[in-house]
């Protein structure tokens, strides 16, 4: 078997939880009051691997550790223990409020997003036409992003992420936006991306989206992997467990 795109072993991430809620100088000065510190195990020792070309959906109820897992893979958090191996460039899909600055134009934001995902400015310039065309933003690319609808922002963000030649794409709760036509285009693009050996890990509460896109599903429950395997089997078990409210 070839080298896995993602190899995670015994990964643990703990957070400090304070009950006073907010950190401030005041909190520090009243240190004797904040003794009630606890460690929260958001990710409690999980292991799995993702092969190139796989599209893995991650499901689980709120607080199960899905987003923390994605954050760990995006190297936003340092793991508490365990290890992970990432082979190739990782591209998290930047969504509204994170990667975009409202006062800058679409093009300026594309440059910023492209560079933060690891391209050079020159490489972004070379791909600019493709990125804009794929996003279907049209002439709006020269308008400030604050005039965009949330669907347009998502399309632009998705378009940049799939044009940076990443080998691992991390998607958090986003694919469901946009019209049917664009969703189909995204799924096509994702299929292409998989054929070229790209791996995708995506977190979603939308079971239909997971069924359509994922070839494998990981079900997380309080920081651990509850079930990992074939999409249909895992999703059925998940839905039957009653954790996922039906009709959501």
């Amino acid at each position: 078997m070839s080298k896995p795109a993602i190899l995670v072993e015994d990964l643990v991430k703990e957070f400090d939880v304070t009950h006073t809620g907010y950190a401030s100088l005041k909190g520090k000065l009243l240190w004797w009051k904040s003794k009630r510190r606890e460690r929260l195990r958001a990710v409690a020792g999980i292991s799995f691997s993702v092969q190139p070309g796989e599209c893995v959906g991650v499901v689980g109820k709120n607080g199960a550790g899905k987003s923390t897992l994605l954050g760990l893979l995006a190297r936003v958090y340092k793991p508490t223990s365990g290890s992970m191996e990432l082979n190739g460039r990782v591209a998290p899909l930047l969504e509204l409020g994170a990667g975009f600055h409202p006062d800058l134009t679409g093009i300026e934001n594309v440059f910023f997003n492209g560079v933060i995902l690891g391209l050079t400015r020159k490489q972004v310039a070379e791909r600019l036409e493709q990125i804009v065309e794929f996003s279907e933003i049209g002439d709006y690319v020269d308008a400030p992003v604050r005039t965009y609808s949330s669907g347009m922002l998502l399309r632009l963000g998705f378009s940049v992420a799939v044009h940076v030649d990443a080998s691992i794409l991390l998607v958090d709760e986003a694919l469901a936006v946009g019209d049917i036509e664009f969703q189909r285009k995204c799924l096509r693009r994702i299929a292409e991306f998989q054929q070229r050996g790209g791996a995708i890990l995506f977190v979603s509460h939308d079971m239909e989206a997971v069924r359509r896109a994922a070839s494998r599903v990981i079900w997380m429950r309080s920081g651990c992997v509850e079930k990992d395997g074939d999409t249909e089997q895992v999703l059925r078990a998940y839905e039957q467990s009653g954790e996922h409210p039906v009709g959501d």
Partner: protein, 310 residues
């Protein structure tokens, strides 16, 4: 790439570790530059005069100060505006860079929670963006000096020692960057810090020889009614403030010495004209570099904690 866990989430401070952090920063230089360009673009995006504001703002301020001090308070110093600008422009860079960078991490927290990049890029970007404004303003300042000289040809427009100015600018850059790294990290955890910083900067403005001359401080400390034993140490203490010492340096390297005359009781007239104290300037430089090293070390030791802020 393999990432291994560590229980503390705190970066090391060994030499090899610092070197690898610097290498990582160099790898992301393109992103740093993009951040700087973005910062510059955003600032004047919706204003008509745009970039000119960064020049216009200090010019108007200095004009008002000159009018007040020359015509209202009766300060008799030829070309007072030049002395004011020579210290005010570097101080503005110091002030704006620190205020901007204090917010730099906190305001980008949503982005930090999504994607990895060396976190120090944010405060460094804020400092560089303000630094570019400063260099531009200094360019305008030299044009102003040449203009004054052309109107009133006499002595040289500026002194030959101006060649040492880059050294001063490097020292100030180190000092500002070191403090920016420290403050931006601290402000992420304790939001009171930015208020402390703005109050501190306001006080510092009056503690530095900007509106007045260092000779006036010297004269005030060496007044006859001051205890002799305190005069030396007090003046040294004043000069130990690195930003004050650097501002003294800017003035004395660029502009002709400005003798200050004071009248004591009993009609004793004293004239003070202090040469630039290179020893104290050296200390200010060394302190600046130390501040940078300390700020960088502190930032690296907490940068992984930013996103875990409770």
């Amino acid at each position: 790439m393999v990432v291994r866990g560590s229980p503390s989430a705190v970066g090391g401070t060994t030499c090899a570790h610092v070197l690898s952090e610097l290498k990582e920063l160099y790898r992301y230089r393109e992103l740093l530059w993009t951040f700087v360009v973005r910062e510059l673009r955003i600032r004047y995006k919706n204003s008509v005069l745009g970039f000119f504001w960064s020049i216009l703002n200090p010019l108007v301020t200095v004009l008002v100060m000159t009018v007040v001090f020359k015509y209202v308070l009766g300060v008799r110093v030829p070309n007072y505006s030049a002395y004011l600008l020579a210290a005010y422009l570097p101080f503005m860079f110091f002030q704006l860079a620190l205020l901007d960078s204090a917010q730099s991490i906190l305001s980008q927290l949503p982005l930090l929670k999504k994607i990895y990049f060396p976190r120090e890029i944010l405060p460094i970007g804020s400092v560089i963006a303000n630094f570019l404004h400063f260099i531009l303003a200094m360019g305008v300042f030299f044009v102003y000096l040449l203009f004054v000289w052309w109107l009133n040809p006499g002595e040289n427009p500026f002194r030959a020692t101006v060649v040492a100015l880059p050294m001063l600018i490097v020292f100030q850059f180190c000092l500002t960057l070191g403090l920016a790294l420290f403050i931006s990290a601290l402000n992420t955890f304790y939001e009171d810090v930015k208020y402390l910083v703005s109050v501190g900067l306001y006080l510092l403005f009056f503690l530095c020889p900007i509106l007045y001359f260092v000779e006036q401080v010297y004269a005030a400390i060496h007044a006859p009614d001051m205890s002799q034993a305190w005069q030396g140490p007090l003046f040294t203490a004043y000069n130990l403030n690195p930003i004050a010492m650097l501002l003294i340096g800017y003035r004395k390297l660029m502009l002709d010495p400005q003798p200050i005359t004071v009248t004591r009781t009993g009609d004793v007239i004293e004239t003070h004209n202090l040469p630039l104290d290179w020893g104290m300037l050296g200390i200010a430089g060394a302190v600046s570099v130390l501040v940078l090293l300390f700020g960088y070390a502190y930032f690296n030791s907490v940068k992984w904690k930013f996103v875990e802020r409770p």
